[in-house]
Symmetry: C2
Subunit: 395 residues, 2 copies
Amino acid sequence: MKKLFVPGFSFSSVTADVRGKGEDRPDMGLIYCHGLSAAAGIFTTNSMAAPPVRLCRERLASGGVRAVLVNSGNANAMTGKEGYEDAVALCRSVAELLDVPAESVLFCSTGVIGERLPVHRMEEALPRLTGNLSDRGAGLFSEAILTTDTCTKIAGKQTEVSKGTAGLLGIAKGAGMIAPKMATMLAFIMTDANIEPDTMGTMLREVNQETFGAITIDGDTSTNDTVLFISSGAGPAVRDEQDIQAISTALKNVCLDLAEQIVSDGEGTTRVVQVQVGGAVDDDQAQSAARAVAESLLVKTAFAAADPNWGRIAAAVGYSGAETSSDALSLSIGDVQVLAGGRLVDGYNESLAAEQMSQKRYTIGISLGNGPGSASILTTDLTEEYVRINCEYRS
Amino acid sequence: MKKLFVPGFSFSSVTADVRGKGEDRPDMGLIYCHGLSAAAGIFTTNSMAAPPVRLCRERLASGGVRAVLVNSGNANAMTGKEGYEDAVALCRSVAELLDVPAESVLFCSTGVIGERLPVHRMEEALPRLTGNLSDRGAGLFSEAILTTDTCTKIAGKQTEVSKGTAGLLGIAKGAGMIAPKMATMLAFIMTDANIEPDTMGTMLREVNQETFGAITIDGDTSTNDTVLFISSGAGPAVRDEQDIQAISTALKNVCLDLAEQIVSDGEGTTRVVQVQVGGAVDDDQAQSAARAVAESLLVKTAFAAADPNWGRIAAAVGYSGAETSSDALSLSIGDVQVLAGGRLVDGYNESLAAEQMSQKRYTIGISLGNGPGSASILTTDLTEEYVRINCEYRS
C-alpha cells in the first residue's frame, strides 16, 4: 500500500457542488502545511493562464505556503479581474479559518473555462473543509481534485539522505488537455525534507522536463496547469550535493509515476505508447519528431486499432521538421524491427508487429540516422470513446 | 452543370485492382495533353516524400508535360529505390502506348504507405487506360483518384482575357491527411490559356497559400501531396499583367472551390468551420492562432457536439504562441458575439451560439487585439466516425 503520509501536512476534502448540478462528489480539497513551508511551482505557458495561476505565481514569488485550496468542476479561467478577486476572496476566507496569513494560501482550479466560481456555495463549504483536516486525508484530497479522471493518481517515495529518511508524496489529476509543452494538469508533491526554495525550483524544473513535460494525450495545453512542490521542513535537512541528488531522483520517480498514471487514464485511452526517437541531429529535433508521431491523429487511431501501419509513423516523422530522409529511417514496434535504413527488414512479419501493438503498453523506437539527439514522449491511442467524452463533457 | 472540358486535354480511367482485393472500382486515371504542355507543381514538404513526388519534381524542372498517370490505393511511399524504378517503368509504358517522350509523363499516387506498386497488374491495365481517352472523360478520371473520399471534387471556371475566353478545370481528391502546411492531397488544374511556365509557377504558389494551404482536417501532412497546374496553350495567349490577374483570380476560385469540397468531405466530417483570426501582431502569428484552434481536438469535438464551449477556443489561442492576453481577446461564433476585450458580452445567449454551431458551415471570428495581422483556415469537426474510419482503413 502506498504511504499516504508526510510529516508536516494535513489534507481534507468536501462536497461543495461547484458545478451547481447537485452532484454528490467531493469537489474541493485542501492541503494544510503545519508550519510555513517552502515551495516551488511550474505553471502553464498558455497566455490565457487562469486567475488562480496568476495568484499562485505572485504568492510563490513573495514567500512561503501555509495552505493550498483546490477545486474541481470550474477552472476560473477567462473570468478576468472578477475571477482573480473571487480567488483572492476564497483564499482570504481559508486564511481566516486556519488563522494563517492570507498571502500564504495558494489556490488551484480545474474544470470548465469561462464561468465565474460559485463563491457563495464554496464559502459555505469552507468551514467543513478546514474542519476535516487529517494527516491521513491525502486519499480524500486526491479524489476531490478529479474531473474526467477515472481514478486517483498518487505516488509515494522514501529516500535516505545523510541526516535521515525523507518522504515524498505526490498527488495529481489529469485526463484531458494533456500536452508535453507543460506539466498540463494539477500535481502536488509534498516532502518533509528541509530544502532551500531555490534548490527546489531548480530540481522541479529539471524533473518536469523529463516527466510531466514528456507526456501527451491530445496536444492541448490547458489554462490552469500547475505543479507545486512543497517542503514542510519537518524532516532531515538537505544541503549537500549528494543529498540534493537523492531527493531529485526521488522527485523524478514520483513525477514519472504520476505522469504514467495520467497518461494511462487519458480520456478514452486503451493503450499507452512510448515514442522513443534517437539518431536526431540534436535533442530538440528528436523532440519534434517524437511529438509529431505522438500527436498524429492517424498514428493514434492506428494505435487504437493495433494496426502496424508504420507508414503513418514515417509520414509523421517526415512532416515533423526533424532532419532525416526516407533512406535513413529505422523503426521498431515493441521488439519487432520494421525498417532499417528506410527499408523493410528481411522477414518482417506484420502479425508479430500487430501482436506487440495489442499490448496495453509498448514502445515505438525510431532512429533518424542523423546524429546523437534523442527524446522520448509517452502518448496514448485515440479512440471513439475520446471523441464521445469530449463531445459530452463541458471542460 | 459543371463544364468538364478544356481544349487540349483528354482523360480516362480504368479498374486495375491496385489494392489486389478484387474491388470493382476504377483506381487508375490518365490525363493526356494533346501537345507538349507547360506545367507548374507544388509538392509535399514531408521529408519522406514518395518516389512519384520526386519523379514529378525532376520532370517538371526539365520540361513540358504530355501525360499524368494517377493511381489510388497505393501511395508508393517509403518504397526506396525500387519504388522510384516502379514509377519510372510505368511512365515509360504509358509513354510508349501514347508515343510521347518518357520524360514528359508525370505520375501521382495515393493510398497505403510502404507497399510496392503491383506493377504487373498496372501494366496490364495500361492499354485499356490509354485506349479509353476522351476529351469528355474528366468525370471518370475524377472517380479513379479517390480513396476514402465519398464524392468526386471538380470545379470549373471560364474567364475573359484580352485575346478571348480561357477555361480552367480542376479535379482533386482529399479526405484524410489534410493539413495546412501543404496542398496535402492530389489536385490537377488544367487550362487552355497559353501562359509562360514561370508565370504559372508564381501564380500557383500565391494561390495555394490561400486555398489548399489554408485547410486542415487532421493536421497530418502526407508523403504524396501534389498540385499540378497544366496549360495546353490551345486557348488565348496570356501575357500582360491584366490577363495574368484574370487567370490568377480564376485559378484562385477553382482552388478555393476544390479546397472547400475537400474539407466538406473530410473523413467523418459533419461540419465545416472557417476560423478567422484578426488583430494579430502579424500574419504569421494570426496563422499560428488559427491553426491551433483549427487543429485542437478539444475544439473540434466541441464543433461536433455544436457546443459553444468558447473556453476551449480561448485556450487553444492561448497555447498557439501568438501574442495576446485574456484581456484582449474577442470572439464570435457565427453572428453571435461572445467575448469582447476578454469579457463575455452583455446579454450573451448561449443557446443562440449553439444554434449557429448547429449549421453545417459557419465562421469562428477571433481578434487578438494586438495588431493588423490576419489569417483564415478552414477546418472540420472531429467525430467518432473519423476515428472509426481511421481505425479500419489502412492509409
